[in-house]
């Protein structure tokens, strides 16, 4: 199967995502420049981390208008699996593919560390190989990951079971101390109502090899391979 990794000017985790798909999992992977509109027959689209368009104005604000995003919207509308990682998640929020917005971390710091997230939902293409309550140790690297949405939106996300990952303690408890950045309801990742578009702030693609300190991120890639194989 083929992973398309979108590269915006300022993306800097596109190579990490490409390596996870191609070298670690042995799948096809293609870089797609943000001005291109051909997704090259992708089965999965990844919006990688980084600082698209310098993060000027707001994170993801201008990437949303890159030509490739029209193709990504169409791919998502057809039910294709789309994963937004970190800055890619911010792009999905700005593009309206996922609800809500990001504020500055409550620490006001750019935080670069390993955190724990608990898998809340396993009926998405990126978590179907997980079990509910599974705790993943994955890195974060962001200054604006403090998830915000109005209370009615949060209530709808909870009612529809769209919160896919929450910041947790290593043993899976959802506490304020484990909340890496101040996100409402410890939200680390979400899916859309159709469940094919998933975004998360932590970096699973940087946690796919033991030399990187954790292999816990692999399960997201294994999940989508399973999802595509069964589609």
């Amino acid at each position: 199967m083929t992973f398309a990794v979108i590269t915006f000017p300022g993306s800097n985790c596109d190579q990490d995502a490409y390596r996870a798909a191609k070298d670690v999992l042995g799948q096809q992977a293609e870089y797609i420049w943000h001005k291109d509109t051909d997704l090259k027959g992708a089965d999965v689209v990844i919006l990688p981390g980084g600082f698209a368009h310098g993060d000027y104005l707001r994170c993801g604000a201008m990437a949303r208008f890159s030509p490739v995003m029209k193709s990504v919207q169409e791919f998502a509308a057809k039910g294709g699996p789309v994963l937004g990682i970190c800055n890619g998640f911010q792009v999905l929020l700005e593009a309206g593919l996922l609800p809500g917005a990001m504020l500055r971390n409550r620490s006001l710091k750019f935080q670069c560390e390993h955190v724990h997230i608990r898998v809340e939902q396993t009926d998405t293409p990126f978590t179907m190989a997980c079990r509910v309550g599974q705790v993943l140790r994955v890195p974060i690297a962001h200054g604006e990951g403090n998830y915000f949405a109005e209370p009615d939106v949060i209530a709808r996300l909870e009612a529809n079971r769209q919160v896919v990952f929450r910041y947790s303690t290593p043993d899976g408890r959802i506490t304020d101390e484990a909340n890496a950045n101040g996100s409402l309801a410890n939200i680390a990742g979400l899916c859309n109502e159709r469940r094919n578009v998933v975004g998360l702030m932590p970096h699973p693609e940087r946690a796919c090899e033991s030399i990187l300190g954790s292999q816990d991120g692999l399960v997201l890639f294994e999940s989508v391979m399973k999802a595509v194989a069964h589609a």
């Binding site: 917005a101 504020l103 006001l108 403090n146 915000f148």
Partner: protein, 80 residues
């Protein structure tokens, strides 16, 4: 014609930067500054001399790009 666009976080949204600035001012002795909200300011040079047209164009670009309606609101002033 020039339009000035002021973008601020909506009142319902916590502003960690504004809060930190307020706390810094308090520690400097400015207890009279009760709260601070940080925002963004844009100057748009527009190819029109018609105020209504200028305002409509500024509002359109604010809606589409300058502000994120999920967390921000904006105010426009037209410079004559």
């Amino acid at each position: 014609m020039r339009a000035r666009v002021f973008v601020t976080l909506k009142p319902s949204v916590f502003d960690p930067q504004g809060r930190t600035i307020a706390e810094a001012l308090h520690s400097m002795g400015y207890g009279g500054v009760e709260d601070v909200r940080q925002g963004k300011y844009f100057e748009l040079d527009l190819a029109t001399n018609e105020a209504a047209q200028a305002k409509a164009l500024a509002a359109e670009v604010a809606d589409r790009l300058l502000a994120n309606p999920v967390i921000e609101s904006y105010r426009i002033e037209i410079e004559s």
